[in-house]
Symmetry: C5
Subunit: 268 residues, 5 copies
């Protein structure tokens, strides 16, 4: 499903760590079944300026191949696209692909790599992450993220300072509580936190969905004085991503509609 309307509640903001991990009565290799956990892969593309010098028909074909790979994946799995043209200088296009199966994501990127556009693009960033049950919430791990219809996704990798993990679980819970309370005042902003411990460079990938960048800017400003903010080690780069169909995000690359792209409602 691409850009489905399934809503996600703004239960918490950055839900970081391992509260209770030490006290969990785990003695051997019993892995908690988590059928609902999903991989969330953020792929960032920057198009070679030389690609823009190609003939329009070649560019249209290049985009069409890229689009076809996306459409194929999205038949029964989640794929979202975002443009960062005008908001970032180092990235043009962001894809978010989700699956409970990492092989799916590997295979999709193999296929995508054969498309014409991928032959003229680099991937300056890449975030691999998974959903996971939050220690600050009673909810299960989310089976899918970024399902809202908001116009923007504000996306960044996050690493907590190591001293954060040395705090007692109750202390971490207390600190997160005031953090979460600030977020509750902004119900129009939806949070999507996924986890990358040990599978990618960051600890979390944090994505906020909203319609008003100014509102989100104010929220982040309000969070600065909260105690949890002092435990942040890294939270850049920050990507302001404009949500749109794959076809539109591709057309934004060279300003011209691809042959079939704009007429593909299934992808937007």
């Amino acid at each position: 499903m691409l850009g489905g309307s399934q809503s996600s509640s703004a239960l918490g903001l950055v839900v970081a760590d391992a509260v209770g991990a030490g006290s969990r009565a785990r003695t051997s290799a019993i892995v908690i079944p988590m059928a609902d956990r999903t991989f969330a892969k953020f792929s960032f593309f920057k198009v070679d300026p030389a690609w823009r010098r190609r003939d329009p028909e070649l560019r249209a074909a290049d985009k069409q191949e890229f689009l076809a790979a996306c459409e194929d994946y999205a038949v029964d799995r989640s794929l979202r696209a975002y443009s960062t043209i005008g908001t970032r200088g180092d990235v043009d296009l962001v894809l978010l692909t989700q699956s409970p199966n990492l092989d799916d994501i590997h295979t999709f990127h193999v296929v995508l790599g054969q498309s014409g556009l991928a032959k003229w693009a680099s991937t300056p960033y890449s975030f691999l992450s998974m959903t996971k049950r939050s220690p600050y919430s009673a909810e299960d791990a989310r089976p899918e993220i970024c399902t809202s219809e908001r116009k923007y996704l504000f996306l960044y990798p996050m690493v907590k300072q190591r001293r954060w993990y040395g705090l007692a679980p109750e202390e971490r819970g207390r600190i997160m509580k005031s953090h979460i309370e600030v977020g509750r005042r902004y119900p129009e902003i939806t949070i999507n936190t996924t986890y990358s411990y040990g599978i990618d460079d960051q600890e979390f990938v944090v994505g906020f969905e909203g319609d008003d960048p100014g509102e989100f800017l104010d929220l982040v400003n309000e969070l600065r004085p909260t105690e949890s903010s002092e435990y942040t080690e890294l939270e850049t780069p920050i990507f302001t991503c404009v949500s749109m169909s794959v076809a539109k995000a591709l057309d934004a690359l060279d300003g011209t509609p691809s042959a079939v792209g704009t007429g593909a409602p299934a992808l937007g």
Copy 2:
């Protein structure tokens, strides 16, 4: 409007943070209407040396397309251009585009990307920011920045140390006051601060407009011993930008006037 003469007062210098954010009586999703807030997008271009090896007519056409996109945008929105040739090695040209609507800025960069020059340029830096009411001033958010006719813009991204946000609001106000007082001694220098919390890597984009780089250098030197300076985490890279029309900034790229550029008074 490009390079209009609307003056802006030098009320404060770096006006950083969220004083009073915690005490603001805000209980739910009530967003303060801020019709006047504007997005300010700084786009930095570095031309591929290979572009300079193209035929003069091709270069002229490349520049003309870039100029046309700028002129079109500037019909009813603010666009400023600056050259950094001779002041930086990693950037040649800076565009500042403003709009209360982020879609405008996205669309402009889509169009710009189709111009010949963009096909031979990289964008080593990019700052997305918004205006915002300063916690140290009674003024509203500015609807437009960088409106002076000064010759230079001294531009840099800024991040405050996190401990700054842990200070009490009155303490932050006290510290900013002496900072602002130094700035008041330099009335010929105009400050333009915009905010990037959560929408780009930096927290602020700070731009000083002035006619005399030596005077600005002395101001910054005087600010070093002020208390607020100790809370700076990052304030580089610093760009000394020479203000000029888009046409002139383009002609500085290869030292030759484009076909129509120099005769376009509306752009500069």
Copy 3:
């Protein structure tokens, strides 16, 4: 042997340092014979997007030459291949070559450099390391690492903070003990630690083999609150590597099977 079935026990997790080094009664140049120590060289390849634009037959030949070099090496030495397509943006293919003789590894890379594929690839990362007896275990240095049949290898370089080495050996032993205990709860995950002191930038290369990325993510999360975690200086970049034969890893580069690759059971 390529991808042999020799199992390796999960004795410890990150086994870092020099416990007892100071107290070892070593007075002159007596080098402990360590015939079993092996070099482990991790080579990371990123294919130039331009390679994907080459004709299919040329690409097949390029891959075939690369494969032949690997097959030749693997006749009597250990060589493993991994794909990072879909998990990383900066790397496509990882080779792990092992030998007790560094000349072997040098010569292999000379030969590999002549293959068609190497002429279109860069090597953004490279880790040279050796096995070594762990100060926290009674076992000898392992003669070979990464011998499991697990689906994934989670790989990263590690550097400890210098203050770690200032602790007394017993203190380091005590801290590592609780670290190791967490690892014991995950018997399905196998650890492979090699050492790079003085021969490459990192101090250790740590590789975890497992079938379930979610399980490994949970393990790393559980390790965050352990005391040993506070002594980590660096443990990125982290590579989630999909284990497969060389032929399959090569075919993942352009999505097409090479002429002989897929039929080469000896390689994986």
Copy 4:
């Protein structure tokens, strides 16, 4: 004037900051007239290896155009050239241009950008700075720097730790005094300090002129234990620049004399 013989005394070493800035009785926009202040622009060029593959006649023409731009500038302004071939890997050629007028420097770089050589070169570093009256000396700001006939220029950007600026002016004066005394023992080494506060990334550009790199190495070694050294935040990269005429520095790029270069005594 290029490489004139005007001597400059070795009054002090690194003369860093704003002693007395706070106490200066300055109440409004009164700018101290400093007709003698000059801009000093250091431009660093790295030639594309592909340029060395061009035909000798084309290379000679490329260099000749670059040389002509320099000669034109140097008719009535200061321009110095240095080669870093054999001393650095990331830079081949350094130009120092000076003028009391920043427009001069902008225009010169526009012209230089049109030369053949600039079409095959990148500019990995760039330092913009100004002369300024030192707080530790009674002398006026120098109207020109790097005027000696010494064989080498040892050049680096410098940033002081912020806590330096929090010291009382007398304390800073005391610390600088012992620093300066070490420098006085090396009268054959001439110091040239310029300032970049707010106009470029560094705070200072420091250039030492001398004939004996070993002597300078010993001086820097002697300075390490001085108190002022503890306040250094950054002082790399360090460039050992070989002083020579523009023509010779150009000829060092490809080892062949350009048509007219070597016979141009006015340039070196």
Copy 5:
């Protein structure tokens, strides 16, 4: 002389600083004559993958020109070559050139730059340094370094923390003593320390020569708990360099012998 057999004793390990510099009775510009001091220049080359796509005859000619420049230099000066193929990903070939005269080294690199190979190579690293009398030894400055016949050179730049230089000379001497004692237990490993204060980015270039990487790894591991290790600011990147003749190091680049290289015993 290339790879001469002159032995160098393993007197000390990293001999860092300026003990006694403050107390040296030096009142004016009296420079201690040091005729024996030599410049040691480490140049690191990475070959463009495109070079490997050139015709074999062209590659042979490219290498031959490079070799000829080296042979010419080595007639009466020291030149050593090392291959890093298989040990590093960012460097292929390292040259160490020595001379008491920096002009020699500049001129050699001008000539080398004209060789075919240099037209297809980049220089990702470069270390300029000099020999110097050690404050921890009674020996004079060495007139030449890296003169052993060992198989490997372990090479890295080093910077000490500034607080090191604030210690009293006796204290530094005491700390270095236990450091040196560890080194004495490894008489098969030879140390070569040169100095870069003020002439390049690092403070030292440290090179250990040995036949057994595992032995060196153990030595570095043993040094970690020594007190001196706590004062290290930087000691990466670390290069494991395989010592060989220039001709062999060149042939390792493309796996094919150059026309005359292998038969040149004078070079290796």
